[in-house]
């Protein structure tokens, strides 16, 4: 009973890591750039949604849709203004640029909306916890997992079957050849970052009702998203998602059965252990590259 409640709780927490992970990996797979500003971008667009909800008399869904629209636009804007000028530069430069952007967005959000914590409503706010076989399951987190799976399916479909998606894959695999085939690298990356921004925005509006909305909401989640992604394998959206869920569960198990105060450190040691055996994550496929 106790064991299962740890698992359920772990999956619930992990669902947040998983959602953030999707946004990160989408952009990573498409443009080979880890976006360290992803968390703050999501936080920023969620605040926009919250502000719209507070200021104007619109329904929750309208506010959220507008916030997601903002998130997608923000993603494209970041790609055009910061990433595009840096194309072709070493990855480290891009990483530092996104880190700088992280700081900028965090400060900006604090300046515009202040440092207080707010309650972010959701249609499931008043929903009662589900009761399954004596275990209580929080409905919001179930919803998050469902949205996550749906998102992965949608994105996979877009990437595999639509023209824009195929263009994206071509652009990420070999820019030179893609150009020769008439694919606009710029357009492909813009789409990727727009989708990544959107995924991040979705993560934001799902995380906020669970963790409360404030400027620090996504801070640790970004790292957990990366950690979960690394654990699961950064090659596939499914792997990242599973990794995030798994991370939440391990946190709980290690904290309860081994050591409460050492929990976080032990989790990292476990990740390192996994990586020694599987250097590209549990579900990662070792990529072979032509030399």
């Amino acid at each position: 009973m106790f064991f299962f409640s740890l698992i359920i709780g772990g999956l619930a927490s992990g669902s947040l890591y998983a959602m953030v992970g999707i946004a990160i990996v989408l952009v990573l797979q498409a443009s080979d750039i880890p976006n360290f500003a992803q968390g703050e971008m999501a936080m920023f667009s969620t605040f926009v949604g919250y502000w719209i909800l507070q200021q104007y008399n619109v329904s929750w869904w309208s506010a959220v849709l507008l916030s997601l629209l903002f998130a997608a636009v923000l993603g494209v804007a970041v790609q055009q203004l910061v990433i595009r000028p840096l194309l072709g530069r070493p990855t480290m430069n891009l990483v530092i640029a996104t880190l700088g952007l992280n700081i900028v967005l965090h400060s900006l959000a604090g300046m515009i909306w202040g440092n207080e914590t707010h309650v972010f409503p959701s249609p499931l706010s008043d929903a009662l916890p589900l009761n399954v076989a004596g275990l209580t399951i929080p409905p919001m987190n179930v919803f998050i997992i469902l949205v996550g799976v749906a998102l992965i399916l949608c994105l996979t479909f877009i990437i595999r079957k639509t023209r824009a998606g195929i263009a994206l894959r071509a652009a990420s695999q070999n820019q030179a050849v893609a150009r020769l085939m008439g694919i606009s690298i710029n357009r492909a990356f813009a789409v990727a970052w727009g989708l990544g921004g959107l995924a991040g925005g979705i993560a934001g509006v799902l995380v906020a009702p669970v963790l409360f909305l404030d400027t620090n909401m996504m801070g640790l989640l970004l790292i957990k998203g990366f950690a979960g992604g690394v654990l699961g394998g950064l090659n596939s959206l499914g792997g990242v998602f599973a990794g995030g869920l798994f991370l939440g569960v391990i946190e709980n198990l290690m904290g309860a059965y081994i050591s409460g105060s050492f929990g976080e450190a032990l989790v990292f040691l476990l990740i390192i252990g996994v990586l020694i055996v599987a250097p590209e994550g549990v579900f990662g496929r070792v990529r072979t590259r032509k030399v």
Binding site: I103, S261, A265, F268
Partner: protein, 312 residues
């Protein structure tokens, strides 16, 4: 015209040299303290540059080495009463050993996987220092006595400044020499192409371990100097943010270059001081400066200086 350029260059250099060598005599305590911090972070940057700039291995856990250096030095001084000429190198050697061991799991990892693994290293070190209360004082922190050598006690800001300056000069000279040797070039080869390096008979694993150990050594010595400068250390400070700061420093300064390391340290310590006056938005301006530097200066500050110099 080349002559004029050379003479101007020499004049600037001499002037600056004078400024740096005499600083404590005419600058007040706080600027001297700031310059001391620049020196310390410069050492960290040089060390990290060996790992990330030369060998191409990313590390998000170097605060761990910094902490190991700080705590080892502090404890050797406090509990064993060692003079700084012993405590600092011993701390460095200990960190080198830790670095060599820590490198082993990292041998097969790349990019983000390596980043997260090194992040884990940093977290584990910080946690260990916090939990091992009987040794480190845990969350209450540790007060560090002033460094001494026999009867000489380095108790003022000026004393520490000169110690740090001496170590920085020594460290930079050593780094330049290492870079020129076979080891330095081997590390660069590892970064450029592990496969090619292997084909050339370069043991990739060996040089990765060397890179980790060397960077650990430099960073730990810097950590030891740090504990002597601030005289109180707390596990709270040696966190992920510090590691990220270290990494950003070398990229901003100029990845893979030793002057770049020093410039990066200058930027990181001085920029917040410059931005302090900006009401309510020092963070914002700092973040913007990171983005701007990356966009405008692909090879970092040192690359930019180089470009300006060539154009002059």
């Amino acid at each position: 015209m080349a002559d004029a350029k050379k003479h101007t260059g020499r004049a600037v250099v001499v002037l600056v040299g004078l400024v740096v060598l005499t600083a404590p005599f005419w600058m007040s305590g706080y600027p001297v303290y700031v310059l001391s911090l620049v020196g310390i972070f410069g050492l960290v940057a040089i060390g990290l540059n060996f790992l990330t700039g030369y060998a191409g291995q990313i590390s998000l856990g170097h605060a761990g080495f910094f902490a190991i250096g700080a705590y080892t030095t502090a404890l050797l001084t406090k509990k064993a009463g060692l003079p700084f000429v012993l405590s600092l190198p011993l701390a460095g050697v200990f960190a080198t050993a830790v670095g060599a061991v820590a490198a082993l799991p990292a041998l097969r990892l790349k990019n983000l996987y390596l980043a997260i693994a090194t992040l884990g290293f940093g977290v584990v070190v910080q946690k260990l220092l916090f939990e091992w209360q009987s040794l480190t004082g845990g969350g209450a922190g540790l007060e560090v006595p002033a460094p001494r050598l026999g009867p000489i006690v380095l108790s003022t800001a000026g004393h520490m400044y000169y110690l740090i300056l001496a170590v920085v000069i020594l460290g930079t000279w050593a780094a330049l020499n290492i870079a020129r040797t076979g080891s330095g070039r081997a590390m660069v080869m590892v970064r450029e192409s592990e496969v090619a390096a292997g084909c050339l008979g370069i043991s990739v694993a060996k040089y990765k371990v060397i890179a980790f150990s060397l960077s650990g050594f430099y960073t730990a010595i810097a950590g030891g100097l740090y504990c002597y400068l601030v005289r109180y250390i707390n596990p709270e400070s040696f966190n992920i943010h510090m590691s990220i700061t270290f990494l950003s420093m070398i990229v901003i300064g100029g990845l893979g270059t030793i002057p770049g390391s020093l410039l990066g340290a200058v930027f990181y310590v001085l920029a917040p001081e410059l931005f302090r006056g900006i009401k309510d938005a020092p963070g914002l301006v700092f973040g913007l400066s990171l983005v701007v530097v990356m966009v405008l200066m692909p090879k970092g500050l040192w690359g930019f200086v180089g470009r300006l110099w060539r154009r002059a």
